[in-house]
Symmetry: D2
């Protein structure tokens, strides 16, 4: 089958590659429609590795996908050919202890698309477990369907935050993850989000997407804004979505007594934290790893119109222009969020 293959660091090609074709009893076969380009795809392209995951063999890229079911395994009950779907890219071992506990994202045996040595989905057809394939609501396009994967990161953070209706959240970082976390937080019950960044174009874009108050922390004092909004009490929640040590360190000050911090952004190195300051507010901290059980939540919120991802899709490329798409993604302008590839299947 044809696919976008990362041959090695810095080298992409569109070419035939051997991929699984057998549809198991619990699997579906999907004709791929749209695939978004994720920061991790770009990182593998540029650096050939992310932490311990090193590209040693040619690997198909892509893990943000939507498509149409064309065939179902004999044990599949909830899907049929013709279903418009999106797919969760990580497949756990259902018999692992983590999976049994419902935290399948923490199963060390998870096989995740486009994480070496597992092939991704930038190819016309994929075989996937039905259990990790989700129907798109009628009002959700394929392009939006391929956005569910990045949204899932924010949704999972929103679920872990245990939002109470009306909470005020700070989201640190107005990049793609900060944006989807903001949308998930608002749809998930927050009254509004105060989003921070130092790049004004990102903040300007964010401000158009809902009750989102942008704060350029290079120019404005975050705690001052929060004091004004909360009568001096502090933010109920802080989502740290930048991974920047300075942002992580600023989280406790923004928080109210008894507040919660969710660390979404991953700093490469350890970060120095003031535990006395955290303790004085009895802050709690949640960390997240990918996501679990949130695709149906994301799709429900998109289906009912509470989350609209269309403004986040900045540019769309044809499959044959995939390499150009990656070049665009490498140098993504600050007011762009997502580039997508339309896979035209035979």
């Amino acid at each position: 089958m044809e696919a976008l293959v990362l041959e090695r660091k810095g080298e992409l090609s569109i070419r035939e590659i051997n991929l699984p074709t057998e549809v198991g009893p619990h699997d579906v076969k999907i004709k791929i429609q749209t695939v978004g380009i994720c920061g991790s795809d770009v990182h593998y392209y540029e650096y050939g590795a992310i932490g311990p995951f090193v590209v040693k063999e040619p690997m198909v890229l892509g893990h943000e996908a939507s498509g149409t079911v064309v065939e179902v395994g004999h044990a599949v009950k909830h899907h049929k050919p013709g279903d418009r779907v999106c797919m969760e890219p990580g497949i756990p071992d259902p018999n692992s202890r983590a999976s049994r506990l419902g935290i399948y994202n923490l199963d060390p045996a998870v096989r995740f698309w486009a994480t070496p040595p597992i092939h991704g989905c930038l190819t016309p057809y994929v075989i996937h477990p039905a259990a990790y394939t989700f129907k798109l609501p009628d009002n959700v396009s394929f392009a939006e369907g391929a956005m569910v994967e990045p949204l899932a990161v924010g949704m999972h953070a929103a679920v872990k935050a245990k939002i109470k209706p009306g909470d005020l959240a700070v989201v640190m970082g107005a990049g793609p993850i900060g944006i989807v976390t903001s949308l998930a937080a608002i749809a998930g019950g927050c009254s509004q989000v105060v989003i921070t960044d130092v790049q004004q174009p990102k903040l300007d874009l964010a401000a158009t997407l809902g009750p989102i108050r942008p704060v350029n922390v290079a120019k404005e004092n975050l705690r001052g804004v929060i004091d004004e909004l909360t009568d001096g009490w502090g933010a109920d929640l802080v989502f740290e979505a930048s991974g920047a040590p300075a942002a992580i360190q600023a989280a406790p000050e923004a928080l109210c007594p008894g507040g919660r911090i969710v660390l979404v952004g991953l700093p490469i190195r350890p970060v120095s934290l003031d535990i006395v300051a955290l303790s004085a507010k009895e802050a709690s901290i949640e960390t997240v790893f990918r996501y679990a059980h949130v695709y149906p939540r994301a799709l429900a919120l998109m289906g009912s119109g509470k989350i609209d991802l269309k403004p986040l899709i900045s540019r769309t490329f044809d499959f044959r222009d995939s390499i150009e798409a990656f070049e665009f993604a490498v140098k993504m302008p600050p007011d762009c969020i997502k580039a997508q590839i339309q896979v035209i299947s035979a």
Copy 2:
């Protein structure tokens, strides 16, 4: 001071009555602007009692109020004259065990406006603790401010429901409480609400207020609708807001495995519940009593535009027409939700 006084069952008068005038150190004095008429006000008017609470002396009615601060006690820090505010009508003993635990609504010593023998707020000025007085956001009118009290009932139910982002909720009953519960559930994180009733005009109104799917249970099968919306899984949450035994009994069937029921409506008599059916789904049930800590949540959601209460205000009367207002409320048409009185102060 002039006030709307319930002299006894069935007899209202607008007349002078002796009310407190001293502003304590932690109190504020408020010029009343708008007061909504609650079902309980109407019930005291028609029947002279609600359960164990019996009107034995003339009592000022009204507990859904907004106004303007005109004076503050010397220990008050968070309010100043001119503040536009709404007021929580129940005042607990801050030294009770329940209050210390943060569940002040369960303090048996709560003094609640217009619950005998405590006077209500249908009068030009009231003295109130600053701690239970809340600033209105600039974009929230006095009329909307007087709606925070009924909304608070729904908000409290939404908080107790521990909504996860994207949950599907059923709200049983499309009366005022069902409506505010629906709005709170959607703003609080639900993807959509399926609202049930047997009165079509109420359902038609509800359907205009957000992602709310009306189901007339006299004509349509609720579980069928839920199956379609959830691929046979069931509703994550059921808010029972009718108090009707048949609705309460229908709650387990609508629910998904592990789902939660919140009982908001209060049936007068005990209701027969199928515990085997509840257990087969490991359903949990939450009950609610008034509300606690939700005024700031309601106001934050109104301030950010996530909850709009204007469509619920059906009719407004002048203070001098208060008795007419009560007559209207007694025979409230099915497509009306709330009547309010504008209190014109000297």
Copy 3:
């Protein structure tokens, strides 16, 4: 293989029967050592059915078992021949939605030992999934290991109760389930349990098992006892383990404001509940269905000495006396809790 077979209602025989012998890749083969007799085994023997589950074909009884691993499938990592183990009798479909969510006990496809048409474990050898087979700590005997299954019911209730350290719990009913729930509640963080019943011998036995205060509700006022123990506040938790309507109806009165009721006992018919009384305390109610994820918890508490099940084992029979054992269990004296059968394997 030889087994204790329920031929039909009222007729047991020890005879050869065809049972699975193939050890799948994720399975272990276990030589059965001890099997406890459960009330449900006795019920099938006496009545041939429990609710919708009807014995239509001869069925091997027994689901409370311990034994020794004698063979492991090739994919099994956490067990080896010689391991002393006990087994969870319900096997869910790992690909079901409920299983993925971690609530595998609610999977409608669960296959449960000695629940028609699934054979039980009163036979010398069984094949079982390794994931539902658990190592016994060194200090836990086979007899105690066969008690983990009934304990699991109480442990699951204790987990669902979200006990806070030092909570006071009422357990209604001093039968086997009331007893194991009491032990689980105390080991799980309660300071003490007030146990109720009308049979004095059961209460007397319970009182010897830990900080358990017996209350014979035929003679003593439960709320009075609780008031004395809690200075009038009420019990934090009520575990209803009798299934008796009168006990269920008495639960709200025993409770403190904001308290929680866990319904463990299953009444055959719907029970009339006073929702106004529940709401006045904002009581929450949890229901339970079997158990999930509690075997490791039970075994850890038995291994560390916090739970001792030896006093609950009233009488032990040889496998060849199994029918006599069932006759004993049918007429269990009130001061006996559990009869067990020692399975002597070839």
Copy 4:
């Protein structure tokens, strides 16, 4: 009244000092029986300050106290003269936002005994709010009653940990706080505690107090021990009670997927944390500040015999030997946990 007065850094005297004598309507007057010496008392004695709290005027020391009620204010209902009691040393403003929310320990206006400029309780009589005065169970001595305050720190950590019955906890640090946290964790539902330290006498003492497995991390590998106890899964909970940066940094490795860390020990300086390692397990972190609502929990567990504090009381001094007691506490041997002073009142 006579009292143990810290005149300034390094100088103690027993002398007359002016203390409040008026019993307010909600207050009780208590004849002090026993007062424990806390590390913070010693620290003020040695250094004259703890962080921002500086001793500028002579201050009475002591905040771990028990005694007998001798007089009650006219509004006090739950106490009477003769009651044996212990007292919570921090008194919040009941009207603050934190207090209303039930998190009174986070009220910045808390007045805390022996925290400058508030006098402590090493004096024959104190006036205290009845709401923060708690009856001792009959089987709890005054000496044990004066231990409730340090136990409360561990109890609060145990409550915040949301222990599930049977959890395995690691407690890092076998000093007084590590010990009381271990006792609270076990009584609060853990199956056992693995306690770590580098001082063998402390570990040896800890091992005698319950199902506590000592690990001298200078000699033994913590993760190895946990792997053996949990079949390679990891600890459900880690309580960090040492404040040592190396211990805090070792917490994530000890944890299971989805586990929780409670930071009890306070490191003076910021600590570098590996957020990637935390995230890979989706670890959550709770911080604590003193305690709230745990005195009744501690007393219930002591009253029922689940927590025995007698072995922690290493040495008792007469009031007239208070200065000697402090000298002893300054050089506390590693196998001693608590020194107490018996206050002989006139």
